[in-house]
Structures are given as C-alpha cells and as structure tokens.
Symmetry: C2
Subunit: 123 residues, 2 copies
C-alpha cells in the first residue's frame, strides 16, 4: 500500500513537488482556492470591477479580507490592478491572461457542484 | 457601474445564490477548495487510500485537520469511507461519482497553474 503513496507523489510531482509545503505552485493553488480567492476570480470573469463592486458582489467578505485576497492574486499574476488618478482615486481590477486560463476550470468546478445539489424550492 | 454588479449576481445565481453566505452550494465549494480539501480530492483521483497514506501523501497536514477535512467531504457526498473490522480497524477513503466529477476540473486547474510557473532548476 505504501507503493500507491509513492505513485501519487511521482504523478503529481511534474516539475514541482506540489504536495510539498515549500512548493511555489502550492502557494498559487492556495491563493486561487482561498476562502475568497475563488469568488474574486469567478466575479471578475464577466467584467472588470471596482473594489467596492467586488465587495458588493461577494457577500460576507470584509474590506480587509478582500484587500488581502486581491493583493495575493495580483502578486501571483492572476489579477491586474489599475489606479485612475481621480479624487478619490478609482481602483479597477480585472483578470490577466493567466487569470482567465484559471477561471475556466474554476467555473467548471463551480457549475458541477451547483448542478449536483438538489433544486431548492422557491420562497 | 452598479449595473454590472447586478448582472454578475443574476448570472451566477442559477438555482442558488452561490455568492450568498447562506447558500448550500457555497458550503460545498468552500470544502472542495479548503486548505486541504483540494489535496485530498486530487490524491484520491488515482487510488483509494488509507488514512495514514493520505497523511503521508499530503505534506504539512495534521492528523486533526485531515480528519476534519475528510469528515466534511464525506458529508458532502464527495468521498466515501469504508471501515474494515480488523484489529485495529482499517479505514479506507475513495471518491464517489460526485467526487470524480469534481476532481476533473480541480486537476485541470492544478495543471494549468503548474504549467504557467517558470521551470525550476534541478538541485
């Protein structure tokens, strides 16, 4: 049975040992699948959004958590951030090409989950 | 600009208002994309595994966190749990049909992330 553990590691390894806590890919996976990262990436799939719009569309997220999530996603190269020098400055966020690429399986995941859940009665 | 926020909500809503914290789909999404849920689901894609094998294959996870993650995934119907009445009892975990369905886009997500990262030098 130990053999199967070894096999999984070898298969999953690729260029990185993603199952290892030191792996840089694991950081990105963790950010993408973080408590709020999923919803930010899904929200931005249809439109670029202002900070306050993101906050509006993702219910339950605090300003602090949203800022922290966006910072990580920008750092990973998944989300771009644009500041318009108005007063007050307007900050817009959108998906980079990498972000769009990731958004696809993420939306598929999300769709497959909602499809499986029993339909909810209206009202 | 408020119009775009409304549009996203309407699109994402489907039978459920998934962006709402009360939504049952959101619970499942949160479990699937939880700190360790991703790795459990990906690990189980190639083989059914014993508890200790899962712990071995996912580095950095504590026994407590792994047990908690597995409990949530079993409850969601993504993972099955089988106890063999040996001494000590052997507990095996595997993916249900729903779990396999979810595992696909999750693996795709994971692959797309690793593909984008710069190759790491050996050693």
């Amino acid at each position: 049975m130990t053999g199967s553990v070894q096999r999984i590691r070898a298969e999953a390894a690729g260029p990185y040992e993603v199952f290892h806590t030191d792996c840089p890919a694991r950081d990105v996976v963790d950010h993408v699948t973080s408590r709020w990262g999923v919803w930010v990436l899904i929200s931005l799939r249809s439109n670029d959004l202002r900070f306050y719009e993101l906050r509006e569309s993702i219910r339950g997220v605090s300003e602090k958590m949203l800022a922290q999530t966006l910072r990580a996603l920008v750092q990973d190269g998944l989300v771009w951030r644009e500041v318009e020098p108005t007063t007050p400055p307007q900050v817009t966020y959108g998906l980079t090409e990498f972000g769009r690429d990731i958004g696809e399986p993420l939306t598929e995941l999300f769709d497959r989950i909602t499809r499986r859940l029993p339909p909810r009665d209206a009202g």
